[in-house]
Subunit: 228 residues, 2 copies
DNA sequence: CGACGGATTGATCGTGCTCAAATCATGTGG
DNA sequence: CCACATGATTTGAGCACGATCAATCCGTCG
């Protein structure tokens, strides 16, 4: 299965370093002569743990990944989902700040972090790319803090649907890789609250199901209204 | 008033780029021949607005700054407080993602963002510093997402007190620059809930007040227990 | 001293959580 | 191919935590 966001352009497009897209990062590293290998993880398998040394940077080829923090009593906050094309596991410091797990069977490309750092020391484009990707994660985290701190349940779920629609919709349909509990732990809600919000959106005709994880958005404008 | 975290070491300490501290960044830029000027803002004055072009990078000399996002109906999420020594307003993209305001009369040092970018193009230490500071903000945001998504009111307030204790305690006392509403908007709570939690901690002898914003922590261990 | 904004405290309300049960989807073995 | 087992999802009922609304109280500054 070839993923659209991973295709290498036949003609190397010029890269504006101030508008860096994570999806193109592994293309740039290729230009710099860095070697990316592939690896696969089974559903539910851990890719790296919180506070482990950061050895590799990853790009999702196929599948999906969740990245989270745990409290001692088991409460979990998912910080981000990574979908095909997304880069994750990039750290500026020595260790990973969150745990990463495959949500479904997942294949990744990976590059040794050390070789990236070395490349960045001489290639300003690589250095810019590392910074830009971290800045992109920060932007997402800032938006998510607003959601977690100040939005109500329906606003959170509407926001989630629009985010997933943007990132993985094909022909107007989304195939969510994650369960209701994952969605709840991403949105700071319980799985029941997520389920109730989705049911309510269905009854209003804003979305349609074909299986609990196959969702079609029927009214994105109204969904954007619900997202505060 | 000389702030401790701003003092320039008499002997230039070697800087480990993987453990970059934001406080030393303006020292490094000085070595690179970059010029920092000073500017002052009145209490409640806006320093920059959300989505405005990012022209400068700032370091708090004295005072305090809040950085936040607003929803259309006025709900506010404060992403971070910046205290003397802290660097803020650093963006990888073209615009600021949050609004920054002086909480009290505040003096900052500032460097043109353009000159920083130019310096980073030739000086890998500068480039490393920019990345590390953004990564530091991301780390804070990741911790804060866990707090906002999964911690209860007392855990949030305990966490806040320990954070402020670490960052601005002098002789065991904190002089908070921000009001209860600011604290609430930082923690995803109302000002009343913050006030009740603080009163409860006082009645347990875990902290003592000398004025609503002058707090002495009397039992940090117990506070750490309350912070999940 | 008085006025004003900030903080505390109280009473009530409501959203989202908890606990529980029913239903649905998926995959496995007979 | 069907029966069953298992986990995921939905739905319901009741509850609790933090929000809201409201009334003092306090500290600071004119």
């Amino acid at each position: 299965m070839l993923n659209q966001s991973l295709r290498t352009p036949a003609t190397a497009a010029p890269i504006d370093p101030s508008c860096y897209s994570a999806e193109q990062f592994f293309v740039t590293t290729g230009h710099a002569g860095l070697i990316a290998s592939e690896f696969s993880y089974k559903k539910e398998e851990e890719i790296y743990g919180e506070d482990e040394p950061s050895e590799y940077v990853y790009q999702v080829v196929s599948g999906a990944v969740r990245s989270y923090k745990l409290l001692s009593d088991g409460r979990r906050q998912i910080g981000a989902f990574y979908l095909p094309g997304d880069v994750f596991g990039l750290e500026s410091g020595p260790t990973h700040r969150l745990t990463a797990e495959a949500i479904v069977d997942t294949t990744v490309r990976l590059i040794k972090r050390r070789s990236l750092e070395q490349a960045a020391a001489t290639d300003i484009n690589i250095a810019r790319g590392l910074w830009s990707m971290t800045a992109g994660e920060l932007r997402h985290a800032e938006d998510h803090m607003l959601l977690l701190g100040r939005k109500n349940a329906m606003e959170r779920v509407a926001n989630f649907l629009l985010e997933m629609d943007r990132r993985l919709a094909v022909a107007g349909m989304m195939a969510l890789p994650m369960c209701r509990r994952d969605i709840g732990d991403y949105l700071g809600l319980t799985l029941e609250t997520v389920s109730r919000a989705l049911s309510q959106l269905q009854s209003k005709g804003i979305l349609g199901f074909s299986g609990a994880r196959q969702i079609e958005l029927r009214n994105r404008a109204q969904l954007r209204n619900l997202d505060a």
